[in-house]
Amino acid sequence: MTASAVVFWVLTLIVLASAAVVVLSRSLINSAFALLATFSGVAGFYVLLGADFLAAVQFLVYVGGILILLVFGVMLTHRIQDLDLRAEARQLVPGLFVAAGVFILLAAVATRTPWAIGAGRLPSATTAEIGRAFLGKYLLPFEAASILLLVALIGAALIVRKREDA
């Protein structure tokens, strides 16, 4: 077993175990911290897959941004003295059925399909290549993404702003 194989299996263990905690834990805080491990594990996968730029983005945006927002969400919706951060579950059995069914479908296709393998086409450093794609082939969605962020900004501000004296 090579080093990369060892890393892969360790990351798999981390990602799946922490994702299970995220989903099944009854405490929101635990879920939020487990999510940290999941996001970091996925970033590890990106490194393993030669996607260095994306791994960095994953860390910066997911771990540094989205997770912090989620933790804020958890904190703000429960006053500190509310120690009982229980998240009740519902529809556990049908949920398990649907999730298991989807997994079996995806797994069957993943293992049975003869994938067209074209390895080695990726450059060793992907950042320049991605930058060229952003400002070339994908310029339009790149610009559109700025509209999306603006929409999120306006929308979030509009929703949480306190009601005016009306």
Partner: protein, 484 residues
């Protein structure tokens, strides 16, 4: 490679810039003075509409101009652009009166509405999956926020959160399906995906089918088809009524646009696999939508189930996978969009002091008190039922015809039977308006000029499509031809 022509992007650009101008104008309007938002919005949208119309009548864009690879400006795109901008224009006309009565006539609202429109415009013109996904998200995120714009109402917030959770769910499925198709074809371009699917080996077919299936789930949520419809009644009821109008008319049209472009335009080689699935979904959607509507006493919830039922009618048209079926769907989207904008718009313009006419008691006797409004509502309701001289009748005729030609006679029969069932709950409203004595005082507002104009346009379109459908049918046919 032909020269890149960016003019087809101009309407979307105008809408986006207008959205920013409205936002800034809001900031510089002194407190207490009249808000310029509606005027600016209508001006910008009218400009974009004119530009789209000019391009649509310009023959050069028929089979699609080269706009750099992410989007295409063909007849299909331009047809949807005119429709979507027109619908947003009507929603903007209806908004100021509604928001004055319900609080919060603010620039951000118009701005978000226009950004959502930008997303819709992108969604129907995208020929590449990244652009399609980003456009879909622009449309959706703006609408999540719009649903929550009645900040003093718990229903509005609940609706927004429910819409978000189901919408995010749909996006995740759509994205996973796109990822699988990317894995199969090695490209994000729909044309390359089409080639990849067409040349797939028999062992790769399950992968393509799974990708398709995930996309159907994603689009199923967006167009509100059963079994992905459970959010619809709550969200339609809780959202501000003008936003509901935009959701029912605009989002459905834009989502069907992308649905058609992906499935009819890019995945026709897999039709053996997805047509039966779609036919089954269409059948249960029509049945559950109509039966659900029967049980509703709240007008907005009734119309929500009716929107589910109409997703079923539209999907019935899709099983044909021919240009005639795309034509029928495009035509019906125009008729359905105008009717929904009109119905929700009238409910919104009658609202007073935070209340709207939502029950049969509320509309009882409207025929005597407000003859013009009752007559308009009657036109819309007979079009929803599919009674002749309305656009809905012609549309359903073509939709079910497309299904029959594709050999799905049973599906067409279900559609006709369910339309008969729907007559009960639609015409119940008409009966209440004309046959019942009004109860209590007349507490509703009188629609203002902009709202009356929007309703008038909706009535004109509905009757026009019913009496003289040929021009729009021709346009829809040209659009369908450019897709296939």
């Amino acid at each position: 490679m032909p020269a890149v022509d960016l003019r087809p992007l101009l309407p979307a650009l105008i809408v986006a810039v207008t959205a920013l101008v409205v936002l800034l104008a809001q900031a510089f309007t002194p407190k207490g003075s009249r808000s310029p938002s509606m005027g600016l919005t209508v001006t910008g949208l009218a400009g974009a509409l004119l530009l789209s119309l000019t391009m649509a009548s310009d023959g050069r864009y028929g089979r699609g101009a080269n706009t750099g690879g992410s989007v295409v400006a063909d007849d299909f795109t331009l047809f949807f652009h005119v429709l979507l901008i027109g619908l947003a224009l009507m929603a903007a006309l209806l908004s100021p009166a509604y928001y004055r009565e319900n609080g919060g006539d603010r620039g951000e609202y118009y701005s978000l509405m226009m950004f959502s429109l930008v997303g819709m415009l992108g969604l129907v013109s995208a020929t590449e999956m990244i652009s399609m996904f980003v456009a879909l998200e622009i449309m959706s995120v703006a609408l999540y926020a719009l649903c929550g714009t009645r900040r003093d109402q718990v229903e509005s917030q609940e609706a927004a959160l429910k819409y978000f959770v189901t919408g995010a769910f749909a996006s995740a499925f759509l994205l996973f399906g796109m990822a699988l198709l990317y894995g199969l074809s090695g490209s994000t371009s729909l044309a390359r995906v089409a080639r990849g699917v067409a040349t797939a080996t028999p062992e790769q077919i399950p992968l393509a089918v799974l990708g398709c299936g995930l996309l159907i789930v994603g689009f199923g949520f967006k167009v509100a088809s059963v079994p992905f419809h459970m959010w619809t009644p709550d969200v339609y009821e809780g959202a501000p009524t003008t936003v509901t109008a935009l959701m029912a008319a605009g989002v459905k049209a834009a989502s069907f646009g992308a649905f058609l472009r992906v499935f009819l335009g890019s995945l026709p080689t897999l039709r053996e696999e997805w047509v039966p699935a779609l036919a089954a979904l269409a059948a249960i959607t029509m049945v559950i939508g109509n039966l659900g509507a029967l049980a509703q006493s709240n007008l907005k919830r009734m119309l929500a189930f009716s929107s589910v039922a109409h997703a079923g009618y539209l999907m019935t048209g899709m099983v044909g996978t021919t240009e005639a079926s795309a034509q029928a769907i495009l035509f019906y989207l125009v008729a359905y969009g105008a009717v929904n904008m009109g119905t929700f718009g009238l409910i919104a313009s009658l609202s007073k002091g935070g209340r709207e006419p939502l029950s049969l008691q509320d509309v009882a006797g409207l025929g005597a008190r407000r003859p013009a409004i009752a007559a308009s509502l009657t036109v819309f309701l007979i079009s929803l039922t599919g009674i002749p001289i309305s656009g809905g009748f012609v549309g359903k005729f073509y939709l079910f015809g497309a299904a029959v030609n594709a050999g799905y006679t049973g599906l067409a029969i279900i559609g006709v039977l369910m339309s008969v069932v729907s007559a009960y709950y639609y015409l119940r409203v008409v009966v209440a308006m004309y046959m019942r004595e009004p109860e209590g005082e007349d507490v509703w507002s009188t629609p203002e000029a902009p709202g009356r104009l929007a309703a008038l346009i909706a009535v004109a379109v509905t009757l026009g499509l019913g009496i003289w459908p040929a021009p729009v049918l021709d346009l829809a046919r040209a659009a369908a031809l450019s897709l296939l």
